[in-house]
């Protein structure tokens, strides 16, 4: 995309986020729901498909562009981004990258338009980043498949129209092998979704358990090659990690802005608290780490686009930025003092929201294992 066109896209997103979404953050948190008109505004703008290919109604952004949009999304409640996150990200990307022409034509334009919500169903009680314990099964049934099992923490499940489901199609295979991916219509008999989870933060972004009780799908529901599903999951998760790192940068910017504004005006002893050097130190630490995170994300995105590094870099960025925003939100609460502990103060909400970033799309510990393992494999250490 031409730079001047992308500047306009980013400006439009910034305007929508700051003028329309930001004033309603507290309401979203309190009611645990993103208002319908915000979903409409996001769909009208084209937010449900910005990362999907242009030929199917998306914008086909590069990762350098994706992360810059994520900086903007990160500035407000994560619930807003979450609404269209799975369409652009983990669910939509599986179909865009690995689906058949027919699957792409059937699903992508409607996902991009926001008419369908896609959800990515990988995680189970005993399987997340490690697929060894993946129990959901897919067995052949004539021309089709029968899927059975349960998934948990599935983002957007309560509002999903379709699920990209990962199931073990070869019971004899172990680990990541023998897992296939399927597109499953949420209205099929046997598909049920539990009540949405009550979480520490990120209210309005719904997750739930999903159950597949001998759900029969046609043969054309299989996405890509049989038994190669987990490799696909890793590919889209890696992209998603870089996106999450950028969201963390956006949130860090927001809590820094909130903290600077507060420190410049709130008074103690007749002077703004910003006069206290220990308060300045917290702002300085937040600012320095924020710049480091933003630079890191942009650099990793450039390497992702060039194909130089599509795995370790995203993990490193996700690891560092999610930890960084944890420190930033903690300091933001500290700068606000007692006010920072009140439910009506934005930094209190971001403090809770930020905690998830160190957990989902692979915990910090999983990222470390990916990074460390990769470095050692490159050095020739045997597995």
């Amino acid at each position: 995309m031409d730079a001047d066109v992308f500047d306009q896209v980013r400006a439009a997103v910034r305007q929508l986020v700051r003028e329309v979404v930001l004033p309603r953050e507290e309401e979203i948190d309190r009611h645990d729901r993103v208002p319908e008109e915000l979903r409409g505004a996001a769909a009208d703008m084209g937010l449900f498909g910005y990362a999907l290919p242009e030929e199917f109604g998306g914008l086909g952004v590069t990762m350098v562009e994706d992360v810059q949009l994520a900086f903007e999304f990160g500035y407000t409640t994560p619930a807003f981004r979450s609404l269209f996150g799975t369409n652009n990200g983990i669910a939509g990307q599986v179909i865009a990258k690995f689906g058949s022409d027919e699957q792409k034509k059937t699903y992508l334009p409607r996902l991009a338009a926001g008419e369908l919500i896609g959800s990515f169903a990988l995680t189970e009680a005993e399987a997340g980043s490690d697929p060894a314990g993946l129990r959901t099964s897919a067995r052949r049934d004539g021309d089709g498949w029968v899927i059975a099992g349960g998934k948990r923490y599935i983002t957007n499940a309560p509002i999903a129209d379709l699920f990209v489901v990962f199931a073990r199609s070869d019971p004899a295979a172990a680990g990541g092998r023998g897992i296939s991916s399927f597109v499953v219509d949420a209205s099929l008999p046997g598909v049920s979704v539990g009540p949405h989870d009550r979480k520490m933060g990120q209210s309005g972004a719904w997750t739930a358990e999903v159950f597949f009780d001998d759900v029969r799908v046609d043969g054309d529901a299989l996405v890509g090659e049989e038994g190669r599903g987990y490799a696909k999951a890793l590919t889209v998760l890696s992209r998603g990690r870089l996106h999450v790192a950028a969201l963390c940068v956006g949130m860090a910017q927001r809590v820094l802005d909130e903290s600077v504004a507060y420190a410049a005006t709130a008074k103690q002893g007749g002077a703004p608290i910003g006069r206290f050097q220990l308060v300045q130190a917290m702002l300085a630490d937040m600012h320095a780490e924020l710049i480091a995170g933003r630079s890191m994300v942009l650099d990793v995105a450039r390497r992702y686009d060039s194909g130089e590094d599509t795995s370790v870099g995203p993990s490193a960025a996700k690891l560092w930025c999610s930890e960084m925003v944890g420190r930033a939100t903690d300091r933001a609460v500290q700068v606000h003092g007692g006010l920072g502990y009140l439910r009506t103060t934005p930094v209190e909400r971001f403090y809770r929201d930020a905690r998830l970033y160190r957990l989902y799309e692979g915990t910090s510990e999983v990222q470390k294992v990916i990074i460390g393992g990769s470095l050692l494999r490159e050095a020739g250490m045997p597995r």
Binding site: D4, V5, Q8, A12, V20, M45, G46, L59
Partner: protein
């Protein structure tokens, strides 16, 4: 229905705005420039009329090269094409001179309805629609909070402090709009991509047949002689509530002649 919307690029009213100390004109080069906010309402209204009546929306601006950003914004919202009058000789022009340039540009266009914001946030002179009405010999319906077009008739509710007037005129006419008239749409990604391919015609004063000596700071009918920064905000008054807080508040407001 041919609708022309007048737009202006102005320094963002949310950021620090300056005058250029060399000639006391608005410092545009160093400013964070945006489309005049009030103009977005005029664009939205034009698009709404077009959607119900059919036709074409043309955006017209006079400004430096960077004003293309304002044009792009209007095109990405859904306007069909644009005319950008740009000429160094225009720098420092007063409202009267600028109106001659805009009128000349309008005379080269086909229009049934000319729409513009009721004011710009830089000059806030708010006389442009009236000046254009005079120059073009068309009716001027100012300060619209509601607009309807039926055949060759335009009806407007003119917003005033005490209520509103109902105005009616034949077309062509010029209507200025307030921010109460609608809620401007946000550009969609599709709109932004499409805007790139829409025609933008650039015109100089020579193209319009306007004598460069008739515009610009040297012959302007008004100019800024001097300026000073706004004095810093004074300390507020703190009212301690000792059971009589409300009385003290009302007393303060009464002393300021606010109630």
């Amino acid at each position: 229905m041919n609708i022309v919307v007048l737009v202006k690029q102005v320094p963002d009213s949310g950021s620090e705005r300056k005058l250029d100390s060399s000639d006391n004109t608005v410092a545009r080069a160093s400013a964070d420039n945006v489309i005049n906010e009030m103009d977005e309402y005029a664009i939205e209204e034009a698009l709404t009329v077009k959607e119900s009546q059919g036709g074409e929306v043309t955006v017209l601006t006079v400004g430096p090269g960077s004003a293309t950003d304002a044009i792009r914004k209007a095109l990405s919202m859904g306007a069909d094409k644009a005319v950008h009058v740009t000429d160094d000789a225009v720098h420092g022009s007063c409202a009267v001179q600028t109106s001659a340039v805009i009128a000349a540009a309008l005379q080269q266009l086909e229009y049934d309805l000319v729409l513009c914001g009721a004011e710009s946030t830089d000059g806030q002179v708010s006389v442009m629609p009236a000046l254009l009405s005079e120059r073009l010999g068309i009716p001027h319906l100012s300060g619209a909070r509601k607009l309807t077009v039926e055949g060759t008739t335009v009806r407007v509710e003119r917003q005033t402090d005490g209520g509103y007037w109902m105005l009616e005129s034949s077309l062509p006419a010029i209507v200025s709009t307030w921010d109460t008239i609608n809620e401007p749409r946000y550009p969609s990604f599709k709109g932004i991509m499409a805007a790139k391919k829409k025609p933008v015609e650039t015109k100089s004063l020579a193209d319009l047949g306007v004598d460069p000596a008739s515009v610009g700071l040297a012959t302007a009918t008004s100019r800024v002689l001097d300026f000073a920064g706004r004095p810093p905000k004074g300390e507020g008054v703190k009212v301690a509530d000792e059971g009589d807080g409300a009385e003290k508040l009302v007393g303060y407001l009464a002393a300021q002649k606010l109630v």
